[in-house]
């Protein structure tokens, strides 16, 4: 995708002014904690995405990029806080410059800003997973399966897959839920139609028989077929719109009778017994607080499972895959099976009782309609209140109700307000007082009402059919999607698993060459179990050491990135991710990155010099592709171990007669460079377990080893009878000896200046020769052409030569046999 050529950071986070040349190669940033390594990572992330994840997210409180992105002394001038990155896009063969400032992070200056370039940069910006920190490694290895799935899906850019899955499931659930009210409406319409016709069973023949009886009275032809478009009142004169609607006496009487029967039914012995039975079961349940609590939970989970339709928990809004959430809730319900049986038994009874109340509510609504047609109108608010009251009471007889509310609702189960009963009585009296229609009028009213109710029934059935078809289509589409996505994801995770195992085996081939792992996707989760030395599969955090877990996290990340980006996996920042990889496997990690990802530019930070050396030893980085921060100050930001900086810094200090500072910098630098030289020349230093070597241990060892190597070189040249080389080496050894002698004479003053507070007695004139002698000594270890410190090759086993990076220096150490 991209590779970084260079980065220039100004007044950003803890950095004042820093430029690093990465040259599209692997690059290491090393330095003790607090020297500014993270600032470089933040700057890279900022340049590429316009954001700094360290400054956002959970627990960041009032911290923001605008307020805290600039260097602390430039808070008032965020426009001066800039990061400029020069990068290449290998796939386009283009070099691009991005410059962002903290004031307008979303408006980077991009050159060139052609469409193809912007497209690549947008892809990088949308998925900043190129930056991996140790904190993020944990999310791959130690997270819960649900969290891991989310993290991995984000890395694999699978969000859209999950979003569509959740969306289609939501539609399927919603359309499924729409069927129940449509079914209820169809049932009510059918009952009303049957009552209007005065028949008990809905068959074509019975409808035709009842209809033709009335049509005969009116002299209308009998209907022979009942098709979807048949009108029962076909041929009947259509009443004009001005004709006021009348109450059909017979139908109103039937509706009133129906309501009375329903109300009377509440007091029937079998219903009363059922209510008492539920009360007893509830009382027993509530008397046992533990059982009651368990039932409450079980009812809660069941209600929750029904409410899951979006991609978040309906209770706490935490984001979930709805499929996973429903499965999670179903698991909990399954664990409460015993309690669930008690709860289900009570619920089944409550549902029947609730249906009785709803039926009365519906019938009361029909009577209210008749009351409104009376002349004068019969006030019917009491019936409206009755309908509301019964529906509310019925709502407490459901699984989602509070357990504690049910007994009170049962106590008033059969209660019908006196005012409602009075209103019903008034409507009954009014209807009874209506004149009996003539036979012709009765037949006409019958046909009109029957046709009206038939049309309502037809519409209800049409809606129910359409609702079922919609639900069926939505379910089929959702199911097909789940299957298709699962098929792809299972195959995907299988390839990731295979690659992960291969990568992990590579870095642990000494003791886990038969390592196995299982990545198991299921219902929005991603299980991850690993083999522990053939003893079985366990979660990664169960037995493996922290170092091994870090290795797993890195390998899983690399396998995922390779799967999703393929050949376009060209850039990655590993921010101190390897800090706990055990020392025995560090070389292997470096070798892995070099061997398996030769086209990927890794930018790695570490506070561990040993790591840095392993990177160089394995050829992952070179001396030129690394920077070592030696310290950090708020005024200057990080300072690097760069020769030009050091000698210039010392000179600047001496120019103001600040010998103490000059001596401190010189000593620290000599300590650093001596360690580096000992490593490169394979010098012998007395081992220290804490790796805290001092200048007095390192510099003499480096000098001694250089003398030794020059001597060996002379012996080898002599054995091969290479006189010219021998002469050169003799001269070089003599020159080196003179430089060493000079520095030995002068060097004592360094310690005086630092440790014995003798600095007040020294001036520039005293200390400048010390500096000069040390500079010459250091230079004697470097190639004058490529400016790289000399090194022994190979870095293990028998020494064969002393080389530099460019080949200018190549001293053979092997004598002729």
């Amino acid at each position: 995708m991209i590779q970084i050529e260079s980065i220039a950071i100004k007044e950003f986070r803890g950095i004042r002014d820093l430029k690093l040349d990465l040259r599209s190669k692997n690059f290491a940033v090393c330095g003790p904690n607090g020297t500014g390594k993270s600032g470089v990572v933040d700057a890279l992330e900022f340049a590429l995405t316009g954001a700094v994840s360290r400054l956002t997210g959970e627990g960041r409180g009032d911290i923001s990029l605008l307020a805290h992105g600039p260097h602390v002394d430039k808070r008032a001038a965020p426009e001066k806080s800039t990061v400029t990155v020069e990068l290449t896009i290998p796939s386009l063969g283009k070099k691009v410059t991005i410059e962002r400032n903290v004031k307008t992070p979303r408006k980077p200056s991009i050159t060139p800003n052609t469409q193809d370039v912007l497209q690549v940069l947008q892809a990088v910006e949308a998925h900043p997973e190129v930056v991996l920190s140790r904190r993020e490694i944990i999310t791959y290895v130690l997270a819960t399966p649900g969290d891991r799935a989310q993290e991995v899906q984000a890395l694999l850019r699978l969000e859209s897959i999950e979003k569509v899955r959740a969306g289609l499931l939501k539609i399927a659930n919603a359309t499924d839920r729409e069927i129940r009210p449509l079914t209820t409406a169809e049932s009510a319409a059918r009952d009303n139609f049957l009552r209007a016709l005065g028949i008990s069973e809905l068959t074509k023949q019975k409808v035709l028989d009842a209809t033709n009886e009335k049509r005969t009275v009116l002299g209308l032809a009998s209907l022979v077929e009942l098709a979807d478009s048949t009108s029962l009142r076909d041929g009947l004169e259509t009443p004009t719109p001005a004709t006021p609607q009348r109450i059909v006496k017979k139908q109103a009487s039937t509706d009133l009778k129906h309501l009375r029967q329903l109300i009377d039914g509440l007091g029937a012995a079998e219903v009363t017994q059922e209510v008492e039975k539920v009360k007893e079961e509830l009382t027993a349940l509530l008397a046992d607080p533990a059982a009651a609590d368990a039932v409450k939970r079980e009812r809660f989970f069941r209600a929750g499972a029904e409410l899951v339709s979006a991609d978040s928990c309906p209770l706490c809004d935490v984001t979930w895959d709805p499929v996973a959430l429903r499965a999670h809730v179903a698991d909990k319900i399954a664990h409460m099976q015993g309690i669930a049986q008690k709860g289900k038994s009570i619920d089944a009874k409550l549902i029947v009782l609730g249906d009785r109340l709803r039926a009365i509510a519906t019938a009361a609504g029909v009577i209210r309609g008749h009351a409104k047609l009376a002349e004068p109108v019969i006030p019917s608010e009491s019936l409206q209140q009755l309908t509301s009251s019964l529906n509310e009471r019925a709502s407490k007889f459901t699984v989602s109700a509070r357990l504690a509310d049910i007994p009170a609702a049962l106590e008033e189960f059969g209660a019908i307000s006196a005012t409602a009963v009075e209103t019903i009585g008034k409507v009954e009296s009014y209807v009874a007082g209506l004149p009996e229609p003539t036979k012709l009028d009765a037949a006409r009213d019958w046909l009109i009402l029957a046709q009206e109710r038939l049309e309502v029934l037809r519409e209800a059935r049409r809606r129910l059919k359409a609702g079922r078809e919609r639900a069926e289509r939505a379910k089929k589409i959702s199911d097909t999607y789940v299957k298709a996505s699962d098929d792809v994801l299972v195959a995907l995770y299988a390839t990731v698993e295979e690659d992960f195992v291969r990568l992990y085996r590579f870095i642990n081939r000494d003791d886990e060459a038969a390592f196995q792992a299982k990545l198991t996707p299921s219902m929005g989760k991603l299980g991850f179990d690993v083999d522990f030395y053939g003893r079985g599969f366990f979660p990664p955090g169960a037995y493996h050491s922290e170092g091994h877990q870090d290795g797993m996290g890195l390998c899983l990340y690399l396998a995922l990135m390779r799967r999703v980006q393929g050949d376009e996996f060209r850039f990655s920042v590993l921010d101190d991710v390897l800090m706990s990889v055990d020392s025995g496997h560090r070389r292997e990690v470096c070798a892995l990155l070099k061997k398996e990802f030769p086209n990927t530019q890794f930018v790695m930070t570490t506070h561990d010099k040993i790591w840095l050396r392993h990177m160089r030893t394995e050829g992952l980085t070179t001396a030129q592709s690394a920077v070592e921060f030696r310290n950090w100050t708020v005024d200057q930001g990080p300072t690097c171990w760069d020769d030009r900086d050091v000698w210039k810094e010392i000179e600047d200090a001496l120019n103001v007669n600040d010998v103490r500072t000059a001596a401190g910098v010189l000593r620290n630098y000599l300590e650093f460079v001596s360690g580096e030289l000992c490593h490169r020349l394979r010098a012998r230093v007395e081992f220290r377990g804490d790796a805290q070597y001092q200048l007095g241990e390192l510099l003499p060892a480096a000098v001694g080893q250089m003398r030794n190597l020059l001597s060996k070189g002379k012996d080898a040249a002599n054995s091969w009878k290479q006189q010219q080389i021998l002469d050169d080496l003799v001269a070089r050894a003599a020159s080196f000896g003179a430089i060493v002698d000079a520095s030995n004479v002068e060097r004592w003053q360094i310690n005086v200046a630092i440790h014995f507070n003798g600095w007040e007695n020294l001036g520039k004139a005293d200390f400048a020769p010390v500096v000069e002698s040390c500079r010459k000594l250091v230079e004697a270890f470097y190639c004058t052409v490529c400016n790289e410190a000399l090194r022994v090759s190979p870095d293990r086993e028998a020494m064969e030569s002393v080389r530099c990076g460019c080949g200018q220096t190549n001293i053979n150490l092997k004598k002729k046999a």
Partner: protein
């Protein structure tokens, strides 16, 4: 599918969507519905609930 669309939804998502659409045909979902889903998932990616509902049911989806 345009390159722009591909970059918006990612290679793996596109793979899933293509497989899904192919399997919808076998499941007997009408071509008209499949066409709308292809438009919503691959050609002009929009994954909101409303967009998906319209793709599944057409313009009468508000019913």
């Amino acid at each position: 599918m345009s390159e722009e669309s591909q970059s918006q939804i990612g290679e793996l998502s596109a793979e899933v969507f293509e497989k899904f659409l192919a399997e919808l045909e076998q499941a007997g979902i009408p071509e008209e519905v499949r066409g709308r889903l292809r438009q919503t998932l691959l050609i002009d990616p929009k994954f909101s609930d409303a967009a998906l509902r319209t793709a599944v049911f057409g313009e009468e989806s508000s019913q």
